[in-house]
């Protein structure tokens, strides 16, 4: 999955931004609390920690974010979890959409 997503950064983030996001991430998710998330954050940081690595990722990374579309959506959801709460009108739409099987 896109490391910028995992660290919740924009693609133009600087080295300092990335380091800060990494440290915040591992502080919130230490390995004893959520080993999977900790590993994802560490891997993401290694992928984009400096400009050269960021360019390597942008240009040459060919690791698929999942095996199926369902897995991509699933991984994306986990990467951005928890999302911001929906505005009330959107919440209504979401709950109503859950009525459909």
């Amino acid at each position: 999955m896109n490391p910028f997503l995992i660290l919740r950064l924009s693609p133009d983030a600087t080295d300092a931004d990335i380091r800060r996001a990494y440290l915040d991430g591992i502080r919130q998710c230490p390995p004893e609390r959520d080993a999977e998330r900790f590993q994802a954050i560490s891997q993401a940081y290694e992928q984009i920690r400096d400009e050269s690595k960021r360019l390597q990722y942008r240009l040459f990374d060919m690791t698929s974010p999942g095996m199926t579309l369902g897995e991509v959506v699933q991984k994306y959801c986990v990467a951005v979890s928890p999302p911001k709460p929906l505005e009330f009108e959107l919440m209504k739409t979401f709950l109503r959409s859950c009525l459909t099987k």
Partner: protein, 816 residues
């Protein structure tokens, strides 16, 4: 006179109502409600009072079924009919379901209100759940809610307010708000959902997971909970549309479902096309559209082989027609094509593709030059790869295209002079192409440009040492060492350079400088018995030889005795002295009377000394060449005589065999070691492996079954070293075969099925074949069949022509 009613000549057969009732029940059971309804209608004609409930139930279930299928007008018709036969109370629930299915939230509210007004707190089970859902989803205003009886009025307000509170992140307030809601309330499951949402948005993932799992099964509450579960890593394949709502990308929901369906049916390009119509897709942004774009552009490795080229070709056509949807798509497609073609370029002009990709870099991108430089360097590296070339009857190593590699790498460096990997790669190309002056100029430039690069310092240092520019070379190597004090490579090269420099001084007679060189080399020495370059004992031995030949005999003897005294394996050290002595200038060497020949050297007395001696022999072969060894081989052979006489342990044998294998002088000893080992333990996996290796000269061709048996025995004994050895051989087989999965050699590999082969052949060719075959008469077809079956697997023939063959047989049978 009126027309007299004429009785039908034959009266309908009398059918037992019980039988019809049984049939109707069976149809109901099977979910065929329309048929059941018709049967009940017939029954009602005979006894309306008795069979009316059945008719109502069949119609109700039919209406629900139609609603579930989305056939709302048909469902409405059934409900309209029900209104004519069913009491009003029974209709309400059905109308409620109909309203919800039609997204008529106000209608749903009215039905739920009717239900609650009639049944009140007695309402339970599915009707209660439906009523609660309808009331919540109506999100009705205060006036409407005020029409509800208590406690439903206040409970509904609480749920609505709680959901609004979550949207506005007033979590603590919501927590307090829902506390009084009773467990027996019809809104209890909504309360559970609110609690789970509080844990989820509050960041308490474990608690949220538990709460989402506890939600009542079936219905919208469960579906909502499972959608949130996706964010907690609980997979659920059918909730992508709902997840899109939560992710604020509702526009992706429906196309994503269609794309997923197409992907699962292996219609990969159609799948991409389904999403391509969505605004904002494909994208490079870190959002869901970006993740999905990433998936499609990196999916080549996931595709079954027959689908790979059609998939890549689709994007290739897009690039040729310049039919890109947006800039992001053009970037992603060129990137994919470049990286995929690089693996197997065929006739693809990789450098052209690379330049096309560079054109896609946005002009305003501050890293434009860097990116272009990296892409060019990557393509340059591709052309700089060595590959086997046939020449003068032997395979030679050659670069793919040295000129193109140099052109691309030089262009890359011109665009970004700080691109270190491009510099290093270009240096390699100059080396292989023997362009010495270009290489030296580049290396000089690199030392100035990259003073903090260990790789550059090591390359420059080694180059200077090779040219005997000692001062500069040692300076570069020292800088490499300072840049990474943990890397053993710089001190190794430093010791090598210092001893070579010292030897030159000794040979010239400037002894003081020579001794100073050794003093500096000792700083990087290790107390090792097996590191023949950096081991202090070996450094001392080298200096001793130089002193004995060129310098002060007394100092030489003293150093030699010290080294021998410190050494744990004197025979190996004696061999080392001899080899170093041999490498000195022959003219001077003959004047020396201080060096003892190997004849007088001591013989090893234990396994450690024998092992060290074998290692030293390998070192000697690397220094002077295997064919230049003669007296050394004799000496080692003599030293190993006790082993040939079977005076050894299994451990020593296992240690020595790999060291001696492949050397013809020692093959009798190796055979003795293996045979003796197997005599003691015939099933010993390592000795069996060595025996097999010896017999096949390390090729192991057609011996896979034996290898598997050895591996099994090693696994049984927990012999991890042998397991690794066998695994490496099996890996090399796999590599040679270019397979991802290694077949079990005990069983023959399954051939591809006829359908697999048929899928690999372009449809046009198959269509042409079928056309030709269909024009044949029976005799021609039989001939064709016989000829084809000699060249084509029967199964494949069956897939292509089986149906046609059967039709022919059918026709000829009919004629007969």
């Amino acid at each position: 006179m009126g027309k007299k009613h004429q009785k039908h000549p034959s009266s309908p057969p009398v059918v037992n109502p019980d039988m019809i009732e049984d049939e109707a029940a069976a149809e109901m059971q099977a979910g065929r409600f329309r048929k059941a309804r018709d049967l009940y209608k017939t029954l009602c004609k005979q006894n309306r009072d008795k069979y009316l409930p059945g008719l109502i139930e069949a119609n109700r279930l039919l209406a629900v079924q139609l609603m579930e299928k989305g056939q709302l007008p048909e469902a409405q018709q059934v409900i309209a009919y029900l209104k004519t036969i069913a009491p009003a109370s029974e209709l309400l629930l059905l109308e409620l379901e109909g309203a919800l299915a039609a997204n008529d939230w106000a209608g749903g509210f009215e039905c739920a209100l009717g239900l609650l007004s009639r049944s009140g707190s007695r309402l339970e089970g599915q009707p209660a759940k439906l009523a609660a859902d309808a009331l919540v989803l109506s999100f009705a205003d205060r006036e409407a809610i005020a029409r509800l009886p208590e406690p439903f009025q206040s409970e509904l307000s609480v749920i609505h307010e709680a959901l609004r509170g979550i949207s506005e992140m007033r979590y603590e307030q919501v927590q307090e708000m829902i506390r009084p809601l009773a467990r027996g309330s019809i809104f209890a499951s909504w309360k559970m959902l609110v609690k789970a949402l509080l844990a989820f948005y509050g960041g308490d993932a474990p608690k949220a997971k538990v709460l989402f799992n506890q939600l009542p099964a079936g219905g919208l509450i469960e579906r909502a909970g499972r959608t949130f579960g996706l964010f907690l890593g609980i997979p659920h394949p059918t909730l992508m549309p709902a997840a899109c709502q939560l992710l604020r990308v509702p526009e992706l929901a429906a196309p994503l479902c269609r794309a997923d369906e197409a992907w699962q049916k292996q219609r990969f390009i159609d799948s991409y096309k389904e999403l391509r119509v969505v605004p904002g897709f494909p994208s490079l942004q870190p959002n869901l559209a970006g993740a999905l774009s990433d998936f499609y552009m990196k999916a080549c490795a996931l595709l079954p082989t027959p689908f790979f080229w059609p998939y890549v070709s689709y994007f290739d056509r897009l690039s040729l027609q310049k039919g890109f949807k947006n800039d992001d798509e053009s970037w992603l497609v060129y990137r994919m094509l470049l990286l995929e073609m690089e693996k197997d370029p065929g006739d693809a002009p990789l450098d052209v593709l690379c330049r096309e990709f560079i054109k896609r870099i946005p002009a305003k991108d501050p890293l434009k030059n860097k990116i272009a430089s990296m892409v060019l360097a990557r393509s340059g590296a591709y052309f700089a790869k060595e590959e086997a070339a046939f020449g003068f009857g032997a395979y030679e190593s050659d670069l793919r295209d040295a000129d193109k590699a140099i052109e691309l790498l030089e262009e890359s460096i011109a665009l970004d002079p700080t691109n270190l990997s491009a510099h290093l790669k270009l240096l390699d190309v100059y080396d292989v192409e023997n362009l010495k002056s270009e290489r030296n100029r580049l290396l000089d430039k690199m030392t100035a440009l990259f003073p903090r690069s260990k790789a550059v310092m090591l390359r420059a240092g080694s180059e200077c040492v090779a040219r005997k520019t000692w001062g500069k070379g040692l300076d570069y190597l020292q800088r490499a060492r300072d840049l990474d004090t943990l890397d053993p490579e710089p001190p190794r090269k430093l010791v090598d350079a210092l001893t070579k420099m010292a030897r030159q001084y000794y040979e010239k007679g400037t002894l003081a400088k020579g001794r100073h060189g050794f003093e500096r080399a000792y700083q990087y020495a290790l107390p090792s018995e097996t590191d023949f370059d950096r081991g202090s004992v070996f450094l001392k031995a080298k200096q001793a030889m130089l002193e004995l030949v060129y310098g002060d005999e007394a100092i030489g003897r003293k150093l030699r005795d010290e080294a021998r005294g410190e050494s744990g394996s004197v025979p190996a050290l004696r061999l080392f002295e001899w080899i170093y002595y041999r490498s000195l200038s022959r003219k001077l060497r003959q004047r020396s009377v201080f060096i003892e020949s190997l004849d007088k050297a001591p013989r090893p007395v234990n396994a450690f000394e024998r092992r060290s001696l074998c290692l030293m022999l390998d070192y000697a072969a690397a220094c002077v060449g295997e064919y230049a060894l003669y007296s050394e081989l004799n000496y080692v052979s003599e030293c190993l005589q006790p082993v040939a006489g079977k005076d050894f342990t299994s451990e020593e044998a296992l240690d020595l065999i790999p060291l001696l294998s492949g050397k013809p002088d020692f093959s009798p000893i190796v055979k003795t070691l293996i045979n003796t080992g197997l005599k003691h333990d015939p099933k010993h996996p390592r000795f069996r492996f060595y025996k097999l290796s010896n017999e096949t000269r390390g090729r192991f061709d057609h011996r896979q079954i034996e290898l598997n048996a050895i591996r099994d025995e090693a696994v049984k004994r927990g012999d991890s070293a042998t397991i690794k050895l066998v695994a490496s051989v099996l890996d090399s087989f796999r590599h040679e075969r270019g397979q991802h999965e290694l077949p079990d050699w005990d069983e023959p590999e399954a051939p591809p099925s006829g359908e697999d082969i048929a899928r690999m052949i372009p449809p046009q060719i198959i269509a042409d074949m079928l056309k030709k075959v269909s024009a044949m008469n029976d005799a021609e077809f039989d001939d064709f069949r016989q000829q084809t079956l000699e060249k084509m697997p029967a199964e494949f023939f069956e897939v292509l022509f089986g149906e046609m063959n059967r039709q022919r047989k059918g026709r000829s049978g009919a004629r007969r």
